[in-house]
């Protein structure tokens, strides 16, 4: 990193970024329909107050501990360590209530919605994990919840649809657009535009207009804080590298953030390489996208020469998104985080390895991080790494049965 980029990183770590316009360097901002601007400004103010309010933080912390099952463990993966030749630790977000890191954000935002006196909550979901987390958090906090979910995702994540309904949420199938996560986000925004006064939108990742990328990162950064304490206790030092999968990028930003200031720690995000590197065959936004504006933010984006957003493909619904959080685009631009990709087949192979060797069924999304870690290990024998195991794979059984013929 050169001096200019070091300075930008310092600004990020000191809280100067995102700036008052919601910018991480050139990325971010607030490209929202006018109807939402008052609501976004109000949310921005409220978020800054609440996140610095000790009573709110105490409530959140208690709920995270008692209800959501935090802190989550850091598991030493013995057999993977032997196989790969690096010391592998897994940060176990799969052990949280509802089974993925998504609950950290959903619970935090549900509590914020309560503070804003919201009468109803809307949320989008891809893999269904954010939908389930939102449904559960809303039930806990006591606000009705509507979840928008692409019709394609409803089919491939059927178990989660039933869970959401059981938890009292209304699940609305989205048949517009590509019928996956991106179309669900479009539809959740439309709902919010139609109900800006009494509705709160629990956006599930570090995307969207400011203050979402900032707020969601703050709510997810507990993953990295815990992991850092745990790895220091376990190994007496920092890890050499941390790996996380990146769709919108919330679990990755969550685990990376505590390590951003530690120069010796390599941070590597792994995107969905899908079927191939061809546009439309993957969701590797940072690896092959170009800057653009989608869902309220200026970030890297998979779009064509006419500015039309491209359909994406990934075997994992949670990574199947053409955009990425603006803070990731920023961290890539200053060279602090490296982003690579893993293809469908490689991820599926790591699902199998993690199951049979460690007795853990990881989410298909999380398996992408394993692929990146395994490749990195080849040239870094003897080092210590953490893999963000962002969620459990129970929800993927329909896909796994079909593809792996389990």
């Amino acid at each position: 990193m050169d001096e200019k980029n070091k300075q930008l990183l310092t600004q990020l770590l000191s809280g100067e970024l995102p700036d008052e316009h919601g910018r991480f360097g050139e990325f971010g901002g607030q490209y929202a329909p006018e109807t939402l601007m008052p609501a976004l400004k109000n949310l921005d103010k409220k978020v800054k107050t609440l996140l610095n309010d000790s009573a709110f933080q105490q409530d959140l912390s208690e709920e995270l501990n008692q209800w959501a099952g935090r802190p989550t463990g850091l598991t030493y993966a013995k057999k993977l360590t032997e196989l790969w030749g690096v010391k592998v630790y897994l940060k176990r977000e799969d052990l949280t209530h509802t089974g993925a890191h998504k609950i950290n954000n959903a619970l935090g935002q549900a509590l914020i919605a309560k503070q804003l006196n919201a009468k109803r909550v809307v949320a989008e979901t891809g893999a269904g994990q954010h939908g389930v987390a939102s449904a559960a958090a809303c039930a806990r906090v006591g606000i009705p919840c509507v979840v928008y979910m692409g019709a394609v995702d409803i089919e491939r994540q059927a178990p989660n649809v039933d869970r959401m309904r059981q938890l009292g949420a209304e699940v609305v199938p989205v048949t517009a657009g590509d019928q996956t996560l991106r179309a669900a986000v479009d539809e959740a925004f439309r709902d919010w535009v139609s109900n800006p006064d009494d509705t709160y939108y629990i956006l599930g990742s570090v995307v969207g207009p400011h203050p979402y990328p900032y707020m969601v990162r703050e709510l997810q950064s507990i993953i990295g804080k815990e992991a850092k304490d745990q790895i220091i206790k376990a190994t007496n030092g920092l890890p050499d590298a941390v790996f996380a999968c990146v769709g919108g990028g919330s679990n990755a930003i969550g685990i990376f953030h505590a390590f951003l200031g530690d120069e010796s720690v390599e941070l590597i995000g792994i995107e969905a390489g899908g079927r191939s590197q061809k546009l439309g065959d993957n969701a590797a936004t940072l690896a092959s996208g170009k800057p653009g504006i989608l869902h309220g933010t200026y970030s890297m984006l998979l779009h064509d020469e006419d500015g039309l957003v491209q359909e994406t493909h990934s075997v994992s619904a949670g990574l199947d998104y053409p955009g990425v959080g603006p803070e990731h685009a920023f961290l890539q631009s200053i060279g602090r985080v490296t982003y690579t990709s893993a293809e469908d087949d490689e991820a599926l192979e790591e699902v199998r390895a993690c199951c049979s060797m460690e007795g853990i069924l990881p989410a298909l999304e999380s398996a992408h991080a394993f692929v990146g870690a395994k490749k990195w290990a080849e040239g870094n024998q003897g080092k210590t790494i953490i893999i963000g195991l962002s969620g459990r794979g129970d929800k993927d059984m329909p896909t796994l049965s079909k593809v792996l013929k389990i």
């Binding site: 316009h21 490209y31 329909p33 535009v193 504006i293 989608l294 869902h295 779009h303 500015g307 039309l308």
Partner: protein, 253 residues
């Protein structure tokens, strides 16, 4: 006369008595071949014509414009194609492009201005560009005298309406509902107080749109605004093979 000046003038000096009529169509829908003929026909009665650039993620639009946008993209309608087609059009009625920001950003703002002037475009409406993010593009448009039509909505506080009105050129777009385009719940009487505030804040004409479907809607809005924008209802009429000008005539008092 062209650009923002022409738009303002056309809204103030309407072709027929009553409010200015601003029809919206999605470019190249229902088919690419009839695009210019449709505009030529609309130009006979319309005071300003709003042309939608189809976008893959129209998050401020309801089902009708989503459908027309999707179909137009499928048939290959792009910003480039629209700019090319419009070059051959000869009309004195001002043309406004409604586009989400990303296609314009990718085209490049300077190149966009150049192509717009060649194509006879007079201004832009960008539904996902609030005033806070619009400084750069406003500056480029202003220099070329192209209009940057800003939107206010019933959710916009009064002091913000004032600020937005100051930044708008051509006319000020008063969205009549909290919602996406094409609503069919009918307009509420409460819209009147809001429109009075908007009108009082603006030094340029005010045109109201979103959810205008009937003669009754036009009659409700007419006393408070200078023009009326008709989008989804017109697109639906075209889908039902109703002649665009016939449909617009049914809305006039």
């Amino acid at each position: 006369m062209f650009g923002s000046e022409l738009i303002t003038n056309s809204v103030e000096n309407t072709k027929q008595s009553g409010p200015a009529i601003v029809p919206f169509i999605t470019a190249g829908y229902p088919d690419k071949d009839s695009f210019l003929d449709l505009i030529t026909a609309l130009a006979k009665t319309a005071d300003v014509i709003e042309i939608g650039v189809p976008f893959s993620d129209p998050m401020a639009d309801g089902v009708t414009i989503q459908r027309s946008s999707h179909a137009a993209i499928e048939s290959g309608v792009t910003l480039k194609w629209i700019l090319e087609e419009l070059k051959t059009l000869n009309t004195k009625t001002p043309i406004v492009l409604m586009s989400y920001l990303n296609p314009l950003y990718v085209y490049g703002y300077d190149q966009l201005v150049e192509a717009s002037l060649e194509a006879g475009i007079d201004g832009f409406i960008i539904p996902d560009l609030p005033i806070e993010e619009g400084e750069e593009i406003r500056e480029v448009f202003n220099k070329a005298k192209l209009a940057m039509i800003q939107l206010v909505t019933p959710a916009t506080p009064e002091n913000r309406i004032n600020t937005i009105a100051k930044h708008s050129t051509g006319f000020l777009y008063a969205v009549t509902v909290k919602g996406v385009t094409g609503g069919n719940e009918g307009l509420s009487k409460e819209v009147v107080g809001y429109l009075e505030t908007v009108k009082a804040s603006s030094n340029i004409p005010v045109c109201a749109g979103f959810g205008v479907r009937s003669k009754a809607d036009v009659e409700l809005l007419e006393p408070y605004v200078d023009g009326i924008i008709i989008g989804s209802a017109l697109v639906e009429a075209i889908e039902q093979k109703i002649t665009a000008t016939d449909f617009l005539n049914t809305l006039r008092a």
